[in-house]
Amino acid sequence: MTDMTTQQRMKIKRHEMPNQDQVVRRGNYTEVALGYSEETAKAEAERCLQCKDPKCISGCPVGVMIPQFIKALREGDMVKAVEWMKVKNNLPAICGRVCPQEVQCEGNCILGKKGEAVAIGRLERFVGDYELAHRTCPLVKAADTGKKIAVVGSGPAGLTCAVDLAREGHKVTLYESLHGPGGVLVYGIPEFRLPKAVVHGEISYAVDCLCIDLKTDHVIGRSFTLDELLAENDAVFLGTGAGLPSFMRIPGINLNGVMSANEFLTRVNLMKAYQFPDYDTPVRIGKKVAVIGAGNVAMDAVRCSKRLLSLQTGQGEAPGEAHIVYRRSKDEVPARKEEVHHAEEEGVIFNFLTNPVEIIGNEKGAVTGLKCIKMQLGEPDKSGRRQPVPVEGSEFVMEVDTVIMALGTNPNPIVFVDAEGLDRTKHGTAVADTETGRTKKKRVWAGGDVVTGAATVISAMGAGKRAAADMNAFLKGERTWE
């Protein structure tokens, strides 16, 4: 089939990926998107036009060699497809599941101009899953350089940086403050969107192949300071993410039943509260949940809520309600389209142009309601989005048991303790060069959410990758610090 003409290729329709039934999946935590079969993956790969000047690559923050891996895939050479993939991306099974492809590779695909883009993300996932199952391409560590590196944080940025540097032959120690590696991939993103077996598979494989020394339970800034790491290592990378939650400044935020999305998702995902009491950590949400915000984290929280509500409902009982409360309109929703679509399918109720003004509680200090005001769209603001303005006299109370705030997060300040010279912006993010990741402190690089504030998994991976390249050049004496 690989001798098709461009016209023939353009006539093939984009292949849908099968999903778990939208009613059944409300009551379980297993993965929603089921992935392509080999046959479908090959058929979808046939759609790629193999552009001479592939725009998809420039849309990818880590520059995955997309036409190359797709070509190998459609020729049936999976080993080669994995090899092409791993030139730039060490964690394809993860990226294929969580990247916002519509604004990256697929957003740039030439086919998307008139019709539908090649489903690059789904193909990436297919290749990643094949590799997880078959292990065709062991990561190889280059000869020992004698250089030591500390990577702080084992989320997407730190993990990518650690793997790239270890492949170059440097001795890498990877520090994680929680009890297991993965950062937001394990505490934030739910099982039904990114199975933890996939995350652990990708991480343990890389850590074992490349002899990375993984140290969990190590809180840098407390167990060791940055300066202590610098004394022991030739270079340090900070990929500590943006884990500090924000709360709205409205009355009632300390009532029982008000949680940050971080607390809720950590209980559910990292601590497996959906399996309480087999796992020790509980989560209590009552019968009606309001999630404030409409980003990817809000979608994760509301879809987790929907599942918990179903799981705790007895036969014949109504399963409760999970709401999104968002002050702007549907057009401004920042979450990935697929997440919003899945949430709608699962029965999440969206309340647009609705802004909370107060959380109401009872005499026991528990949440009973969320007082909101209706909004309307006014003039565009600095972000170019139309500014929501309150409609006078439109206050009303939603009866809810739980309020989850998904309003964005800021970098955790602990890593900056005793780290003189590591400059921070007024938003608490580390000051670092966007191209190289160099901070204002010598021999310290940073990347991912700790620099940008809350963003995406893949942009953090891109930052980890760029920093690793610069660190490698510095360690090999090809570049100086000044």
Partner: protein, 287 residues
């Protein structure tokens, strides 16, 4: 994995363990805490550091068996391991020479007050300590506390040992006694005890530091579950504390938040007891 190096039974429900955790011991200071997770299924529980040995690389924890996790922890023995042990977390106690200080420990709170009293004594303070428990059986570390205090008052609720009173009574007498010139009070214990200590010191305007032990998950500022309402807004116990100016704490909000998961705690206990019964029945069956 972190090995239990020593275990002491301080009372029926209070146990001491020394855990091998050099990465925590190297920096641990009085006033800080650790997060402990027993096994793969375990929750992350915060425990205040009762003592540390930098040379041996060990941390001493003391805990009262109150719920599923602490009861399970109490069943472990020397040589057993626990899955996670992270720290030292939170800010250490601000140790300097205040003059005369009062260090108060209620119940299991005697454990974390000990290193604070010791550090304050070493910094040149006159240390008056008041420790208390419901009864004699629940009291521990009386001699250790005496060794680091200029004066020690021991109370029990039922009068089975020391003075029959709440810890706030001798405190009030000290504050009344102008010769003593108490310049700072530390109180660690159940939330209700700390609340009443701050109510006692308030009229005398004596600065009072309390160490809060709230519901927590990560212990590093990530979840915000530990947030406490102060006069000037909410703060996180894990990264802003665990010590706070007790006069600014909204105790009613704190007590209400502490009780939020009571039903689940009960359910976890029942589930655990059931599992233990099944296991012991199975073990008997094998014999």
């Amino acid at each position: 994995m972190y090995r239990i190096m020593k275990k002491e039974v301080l009372s029926d429900v209070v146990k001491l363990m020394e855990i091998e955790a050099p990465h925590v011991a190297r920096k641990a200071q009085a006033g800080q805490f650790v997060i402990v997770r027993i096994d793969e299924f375990g929750e992350r529980i915060p425990l205040t550091i009762a003592d540390f040995n930098r040379e041996a690389g060990t941390i001493t924890i003391i805990f009262q068996e109150l719920g599923k996790s602490t009861i399970q922890l109490g069943k472990l023995n020397v040589g057993d391991t626990i899955s996670s042990f992270a720290g030292p977390l939170g800010h250490p106690t601000e140790v300097k020479n205040y003059g005369t200080v009062v260090c108060m420990g209620g119940g299991v709170g005697v454990a974390p007050i000990y290193p604070i009293a010791r550090a304050l004594k070493e910094a040149g303070n006159t240390v008056i300590s008041i420790i208390g428990a419901r009864n004699k059986e629940l009291l521990f570390w009386e001699e250790k506390m005496r060794a680091v205090s200029d004066e020690l008052v021991v109370c029990t609720d039922d009068g089975s040992h020391g003075r029959k009173s709440l810890v706030t009574e001798p405190l009030k007498e000290l504050l009344e006694n102008r010769d003593k010139k108490v310049s700072h009070v530390w109180a660690i214990g159940p939330a209700v005890m700390m609340k009443f200590v701050t109510l006692t010191t308030k009229p005398y305007d004596v600065p009072t530091t309390v160490s809060l032990n709230t519901i927590m998950i990560d212990g590093t500022g990530m979840c915000g579950g530990c947030r406490v309402l102060l006069e000037d807004g909410a703060q996180f116990v894990c990264v802003d504390g665990p010590e706070f100016n007790g006069h600014k704490v909204n105790w009613d909000s704190l007590l209400s938040r502490l009780s939020f998961y009571k039903d689940e705690e009960k359910k976890a206990m029942e589930h655990y007891a059931h599992k233990c019964r099944l296991e012991s029945a199975a073990a008997k069956g094998e014999k």
